[in-house]
Subunit: 320 residues, 2 copies
């Protein structure tokens, strides 16, 4: 029998933090599990057909971006000025090709836009309206701004601006403050890839960029070590080059993926970094560590069983 994780596999996240257990049960929890399964299935289908990891990552992230439950593309959070500024990145571990975008609004799926940067621009990292202009020449689907706007995120902005105006303490849960979606995959040929997409933090300072599009911080992939996508307090993840540090521990310190990812989460924790990550190595199962109360997450292997979880409960497993 083929080892479930000896072959291809995929892991996803929909942001770390999450609301308290008591506030997320019943229908709300079911909606998150279902959304995670939809994304897992999209990526798994690519891998099961022998497709490349980078395609599987893109397919999974597209589903998470399209679902307004998550803070990426549709359902993205607003800046303090009431604008949408999205960041995304994708990286192919086979050749370390990468594409990243920051401060854009328009492409229906920023992860596909990041892929266009990787494959078509001759560069790795593009920002702002000039990036949007490039993407319009690359057959990337754009949507009007109101497609991305959701009442939930407008309310979160209103509440936060009201709080700030009143000088009250910040009692929001992590999930209200930030959120990110991401995927990592290893295909049947052994190639790994990572992708991440986010709207950033609610009421963030206009122009602020988090770790998502910073290669080596929020997104990284190299066949020789691992593929990583992170979610959390981006500033700390940038300063500690979170994703690249996992790869470095594997490459230079001889750690395995689980040790390396766990040690990086511990180091981030010690420096105020709150969040989590998903990672997959050249062999074995994905790892999904986090130091917050929860992380919307899931994984799937060759057998196609869709495993999802939100808090620290056992993974819920559903056969396709």
């Amino acid at each position: 029998m083929l080892d479930t994780y000896g072959g291809f596999c995929l892991a996803i996240h929909g942001g770390a933090g999450t609301v308290p257990v008591a506030a997320l049960k019943g229908a709300a929890a079911e909606a998150y599990h279902a959304a995670l399964r939809t994304a897992l299935k999209a990526g798994w289908t690519v891998l099961n057909q022998g497709g490349p990891a980078v395609d599987a990552v893109a397919a999974a992230v597209v589903e998470l971006e399209n679902d307004a439950l998550f803070n990426a593309a549709r359902g993205a959070v607003f800046t303090s000025a009431g604008q949408l500024e999205m960041d995304a990145a994708i990286m192919n571990g086979a050749d370390r090709a990468a594409g990243a975008l920051a401060g854009i609004c328009g492409p229906k799926n920023p992860i596909l836009a990041a892929r266009a940067v990787m494959e078509k621009s001759g560069t790795v990292f593009m920002i702002g309206t000039a990036a949007e202009a490039f993407l319009r020449t690359e057959n990337i689907q754009f949507m009007p701004t109101d497609y991305f706007v959701t009442p939930r995120r407008l309310e979160a902005l209103h509440l936060e601006l009201t709080r700030r105006a009143a000088g009250m303490p910040d009692t929001r849960s992590d999930a209200d403050r930030h959120g990110t979606v991401g995927a990592v995959a290893r295909d049947a040929a052994g190639n790994v890839a990572a992708g991440t997409s986010t709207g950033g933090m609610t009421a963030k300072r206009p122009g602020r960029v988090g770790d998502t599009p910073v290669i080596g911080a929020g997104t990284f992939a190299d066949n020789a070590t691992c593929a990583v996508s992170t979610t959390g307090t981006g500033e700390v993840f940038i300063r500690f080059t979170a994703a690249a540090d996992i790869a470095a521990r594997i490459r230079y310190a001889g750690q395995n993926l689980e040790q390396a990812a766990g040690d990086v989460i511990a180091e981030l924790s010690a420096h105020g970094g709150d969040g989590g990550l998903i990672a997959v190595g050249a062999t074995g199962a994905p790892v999904l560590p986090f130091n917050s109360s929860g992380m919307y997450r899931g994984f799937v292997g060759v057998d196609g069983v869709l495993s999802t979880a939100i808090h620290r409960e056992a993974f819920r497993q559903v056969c396709q």
Copy 2:
């Protein structure tokens, strides 16, 4: 006698590549050496007064930015659309605080603007016009666009656009294509810091961001390992997290600074990465490796002797 490099030290670069030896001699070479000495002296003065490494780095980079010889601030290169889009970053190894900017035009000294991001914004990375708006509230000196414009860079843009229109091969030297300035320092207390500033690449795609403001790629500092500032083909430096990889080799593989920096340059070379870097560790002298024909560079230690070089000749040494 105090070891010259057992105490404080500083290294700078003004971009890698450089024009062929034959084209850079006499008065032109003298001007570069003099400009490098001015920057070294500015940083050394801070260190010699017991000031912190991050202040020394900023002081040195300010001088390089102010000199139109180098591609940063005044003298920055143009995008293919004839615009100026500058990137900069600074990082303090004492606490791994960092500030980075991409796609800005206005601040006289982008390195000081990056420092304001680090110290005042509550974030690490800001981009575009929103970043400029923040900087205008932070007592950062702005200059009109024509301050940054130089005939040399306008001519380089014109020549490159003409070449592209004619479909001719790209025969420019590296120095005509790109350039960056940077500094690394270790102060008397043993803290390290790094700073980098650039106008990017001549006729670059609007919205393109190179490695300079990507923490872990073009700029990195951590007292436990080293401080690094790079210059070269930014896309490769991003994909290989060049600066952070040097730190990782020291931290996890037990390499010394010279080995780590040399191995990273070799790996960049093997993947089409052209350029160089400057780095300083917790002890010992700075290292300044490069794989291009030259790199405008210099260093100074406790004795105040200003050492500068352009190609692979012996360093020219001048006492203050």
